[in-house]
Subunit: 709 residues, 2 copies
């Protein structure tokens, strides 16, 4: 996948309908061998009972796999709306034209040999894209494994991921840029009994992109949960639209994006910039839209499994029922890791459990001990108490291999259901053992099943995450600053700060002095020890050339200014000097580094950290999409590891975090208003005092348009 | 499990031989029902072909499950060396005496109703322990599920974990404090084809402890790899002996210890102490002995699987062979997470791969593409190049579901083996899909199989870890300081520092002045700005009562000292004042906080962090067992997140880290020499300058003996 942020013309989601749910399908390059690339789609469609018309095209055969074959596309007697191309690359353009002439509005191109190779490949891909655009045919691929829609039996794919069987019925959508890894995922999903209803592999993404497919599934009333495997994003606006649509439709999206280890490959000039790889920006995008990123394949499948099997919980309170004390502790550990809480049962409820089962631990985890094997009514009573009086949002129950026993399993089932009044109306993880049939029998009750307690709890953490993300109030992004335009060329510090001030970021009361005498006059007016800085559009790092002095008394200002001019002229003879900046020394406070950066993939992002060592050494920097509301900026600040320093750690007074959040929001609005108008905007430091906030220094790096060529 | 560090009398490991490998076994409470607690051990022993004599004891039956039964222990015609007690608690003491009289040297007590309940339980447990001690009978349990030794068919257990089948042959030992979770693990291990040869559940640990069993397995020539599930440690010396023995025997030990979320429950007075829960100390112990801690059940099983299937690698270089580019990227991500490197193939080797397969990516990952399905000789050639010319220590190969195909699988097998010259002599992870039979067929070649690429790579990271831990040079612990005794009561700062100086930690050149005049004389002698501090054994926090002044010129010393005495007397009227401390102001440098703390479970541990916010806010503190060699201390310092500050970050000169490491080592030797002689020893700050190190302040908290009562 090309990892660039370039946007292609947005097309309506409805244009994907013929791709996912066509009525008449032509298969160009159809094969009689159900193992071959041109034969599998027909075999799959027949097995899945495709609802529409199927037209195998093959000049050498009258029928293919029992279906009447046609010598050419033109010979098909009815219009088609979908074409599958399983033919060598050179023949694709003409076949595409033929299919368009027959009415096709979507096509899948399996064939490799396009942009992914050198030589004529890219030109050939451009050609087929142009044909598609000209005739209004959406193209999936080339160099892809196709898709399936289990609801209609539409299976234009040669993946082996449905060779053994179609997925179990369900409402999970799966979008994978890699066909091979998509197949691997389909096999794992089948073994896990995850009901994948639609799957699409997007290959070269000449036209249809993975984000568009996510958007399609977000809008589809057949899909409740969306899993995504990505290698790169080349259609950011479509991705953001899709994620936002999914969030609004309360559909969990879990994304596995590979290429984390390439983070930081693009070294950048500014020292904050070097901390923001596009991987952190990708995380920021998912976070903004409430999607989750899975780091491993099993994590993704666990989350898809849980979100497709269980309702979302009302909160993070977990009740634990266990027959092993050790497992209870293990579950408590895992719960803390994912931020689920295990409040104790009310006293009366604990007493009720202990009354029938004196050897139990009744707090939470509720350990009813293996002794209940002799009296399953104790399972029922404890379950009932936990459910009715515990006030928990979710339940995790550890019954180990009891479920696998033909004797114990049914007793346990009856006892648990009685305790639940026969109704599993909340997320309930049955942590147990047994073969697929055993697990299915519990799933049929509306429970999730897991063998590893930690995985169960992590998946429940994801359920809680989505519940919160979907219930979070809508944030209105901050309005763009009025009448503030980003510059085309470099700006001096003073000009940069004045621009920020117009955008709403407070700056110190400073004077631009033309010469040492004016500097001295300015200092005398202020009547306090001053900061003196050189002003030049050519000096990004003033300190290094002797261009900054602190705490200069008014009486010494003229001399100090004269010395500074001499030093800077000696050290940077070619720098244009616009004057000297004189302002009052700032008060005590906490320094932040706040920057906006144009991420080539994800657009404008904010980098927010505490100043100095916290950013440079401790790497305590947050990356968030721009713009941020003041509330979002506040949450970001409070999420820094060093946040206690803002709230009065070590005997210092708390600083005005709200003012800092407001200033960050303003800077982010400036960046978002002209996302391609800059490389970076940096305030370093943004001084936060107990009574306010001041941008003490600023650097605006204009857009380097040469990058675009 | 009680979580105390109390040591019990050490017994020789040979005393466990009758427990794990007896010759004559009596089963007290034997049952004819193979499902009952007293029946299962007999059924298991018969099925496993127990090599020794088996004597069911039951006064009501002549035979049990086809074995002649005996009415009483006394009636058994031959001596026994092992007894299994599956009878109610009240009968256990007498039965134990009977068995001892018959020669038993080990006994397993299944029965619950001892120390784990209230009432008479603890007394009854003390009674059976006394009986065991008196007669030289080692006791496993009570309240445990027993053990098995698959090598001899000795199965005194009622776990359902071997009900379906005995484990596959192998050389893995498993020690679990929880019987129920141990059973859960056994079931998961069986499904994973992990060859558990010996398993023991230790229950209440009245006598035999989990650490002793680890020690037994470390010494056993039937065990190569040890897995441990722990809830608490009550025999620290045995644990350390066992871990050290395993390391020396090059046996990987992987430990899952639950109860992480209880970290920090014991709040402590000193602000560094509050960062060191015994969980961090437990981690430190495992790290010291080269053992690994698994956070989840599957992680533990993955590591047991890998270490029992593959040889240890020579280094961390991973070669990746894949038919999916996406999977290659995913593997590269996971490798970075666990510190495995993916160096590129040599240029000539890359050219060799591309010559036969121009569409491949030949760097590393070596992506031979799915096109090789049409020509498996390309698999062979790429594999041969990777193996012979890549110089890798390990190989990860991604072939997804190809292995599951009866057509493709055998071709792939032949092609890969040809490329490897038929010899899998290094850690080789086959990342693939298929049923157990498919996976077994690859395992039979000496390969590991995994379905999730991330899990494969994490397990390979563990292999690299153990290789390094076993090859690490032996460290000689620092010698205890001579003639330095820790105090029984509180010490003033000066006395504490002088004690540290005798232990080898540099301190400033300070004078104890009796009154302001002496202070002024001392300052005049030094002739530089001074530090002035109050000296009192009763003032742990001098700054808070006005007992510290910095940068006092010699001329102002007398006044400053007089003012300080007045202020301190006003604010802390009851503090005994021993005088005033005068010393030179220290130079510029980096401040460390270095403490030793008596961890109730793990003994003396060191807490090492950068001073101030780094420890208090950023929690950048390392915990290590005491003592530390200077080399270990240096490694610890360099592992801090803030370590760049020691090496000259942000334009500052580098400081003398070696001197800091030496001082830390000395403090640790002092702590280790009298591990029960203190609560905490803290140097805050330990100033590290470019030319050395100085303990600027020290606090020794003597042992609070009341805790012991």
């Amino acid at each position: 996948m090309p990892d660039d942020g370039a946007t292609r013309p947005a097309q309506p989601l409805s244009s994907l309908a013929p791709l996912f749910a066509p009525r008449a399908v032509a298969v160009i390059g159809a094969s009689a061998d159900p193992q071959r690339i041109g034969g599998r789609p027909i075999a799959y469609a027949l097995r899945a009972g495709f609802e529409g018309a199927l037209y195998p095209v093959n000049p050498n055969r009258d029928e293919i796999q029992g279906v009447k074959a046609w010598p050419s596309v033109a010979s098909i007697p009815e219009p088609i709306d979908f074409a599958l191309l399983a033919i060598p690359a050179p023949g694709v353009p003409q076949a595409l034209r033929d299919c368009a002439a027959k009415g096709a509005k979507a096509a899948v191109i399996f064939t490799a040999g396009f942009a992914e190779i050198g030589g004529d490949g890219p030109a050939l891909q451009d050609e087929i894209l142009a044909i598609g655009r000209e005739h209004g045919v959406r193209l999936l691929g080339p160099n892809c494994l196709g898709l399936f829609n289990a609801a209609t039996g539409h299976c234009p794919t040669f993946t082996s991921g449905i060779e053994a069987a179609m997925p179990v019925p369900g409402r999970v959508g799966l979008v994978t840029q890699s066909g091979a890894y998509g197949t691997h995922l389909l096999n794992m999903a089948r073994d896990r009994r995850i009901g994948v209803r639609q799957w699409v592999s997007t290959g070269n993404e000449a036209d249809v992109t993975a984000p568009e497919c996510i958007g399609w599934m977000a809008a589809s009333d057949e899909i409740d949960v969306i899993g995504v495997y990505m290698e790169g994003v080349n259609d950011r606006p479509a991705l953001f639209r899709a994620l936002e649509a999914a969030r609004k439709a309360r559909k969990p999206v879990v994304v596995m994006k590979v290429g984390r280890s390439a983070v930081g490959a693009q070294a950048a000039a500014s020292h904050t910039a070097s901390l923001a790889g596009s991987d952190a920006s990708f995380d920021a995008a998912l976070r903004r839209f409430g999607a989750l990123r899975a780091k491993t394949t099993e994590e993704m499948l666990d989350i898809l499994y849980a979100t497709s099997r269980a309702p979302l919980p009302k909160g993070r309170k977990l009740g634990v029922l266990t027959v092993s004390g050790g497992a209870g502790v293990l579950i408590a550990d895992a719960a803390e890791d994912v931020g689920l809480s295990l409040p104790p049962m009310p006293e009366a409820a604990q007493a009720a459990v202990l009354e029938t089962n004196p050897l139990a631990s009744a707090r939470n985890p509720v350990d009813i001990t293996a002794g209940v094997l002799n009296d399953f009514s104790k399972v029922t009573s404890a379950t009932a108490v936990l459910r009715r009086e515990g006030g928990y949002d979710m339940t995790a129950a550890f019954f180990t291999s009891w479920t696998a026993s033909p004797v114990v399993g049914p007793k346990l089932r009856e006892a648990l259901l009685a305790g639940l009044d026969g109704d599993v109306d909340h997320p309930f993880a049955m942590i147990c053992q047994g073969d697929a049939a055993v697990m299915e029998s519990w799933e049929a009750l509306g429970m999730m099943t897991f063998e590893d307690p930690s995985r169960a709890i992590h998946a429940m953490g994801a359920l809680a995450h989505f519940a919160e993300a979907f219930d979070a109030p809508e944030e209105t992004p901050p309005a763009p600053p009025e009448g503030v335009a980003l510059p085309a060329g470099p700006l001096s510090e003073l000009a940069a700060k004045r621009l920020l001030a117009r955008a709403g970021v407070p700056i110190p009361d400073e004077t631009l002095a033309a010469d040492p005498q004016e500097a001295a006059e300015a200092a005398a007016r202020l009547g306090v020890p001053c900061v003196l800085k050189i002003v030049s559009p050519d000096l990004a790092h003033k300190t290094e050339v002797g261009g900054v002095r602190l705490n200069v008394p008014p009486m010494e200002m003229e001399t100090a200014a004269r010395e500074m001019l001499e030093t800077v002229r000696a050290r940077a003879p070619h720098a244009r000097i616009e004057g000297l900046l004189v302002g009052p020394m700032a008060g005590e406070g906490v320094e932040l580094i706040v920057g906006a950066r144009r991420d080539p993939v994800m657009g404008p992002v904010m980098l927010i950290g505490l100043g100095g060592v916290f950013t440079e050494v401790m790497k305590d920097v947050a990356v968030e999409l721009a713009p941020l509301t003041p509330a979002q900026a506040l949450k970001t600040l409070n999420g820094l590891r060093g946040a206690p320093l803002l709230h009065g750690a070590r005997g210092k007074p708390p600083v005005d975090v709200a003012a800092a959040a407001e200033a960050i929001s303003r800077l982010s609005a400036l960046a978002a208003a002209d996302p391609d108008g800059f490389e970076s905007l940096e305030i370093n430091p943004l001084l936060v005092t107990p009574s306010g906030v001041l941008a003490l220094d600023a650097l605006i790096e204009p857009r380097n348009r040469e990058d675009d060529e």
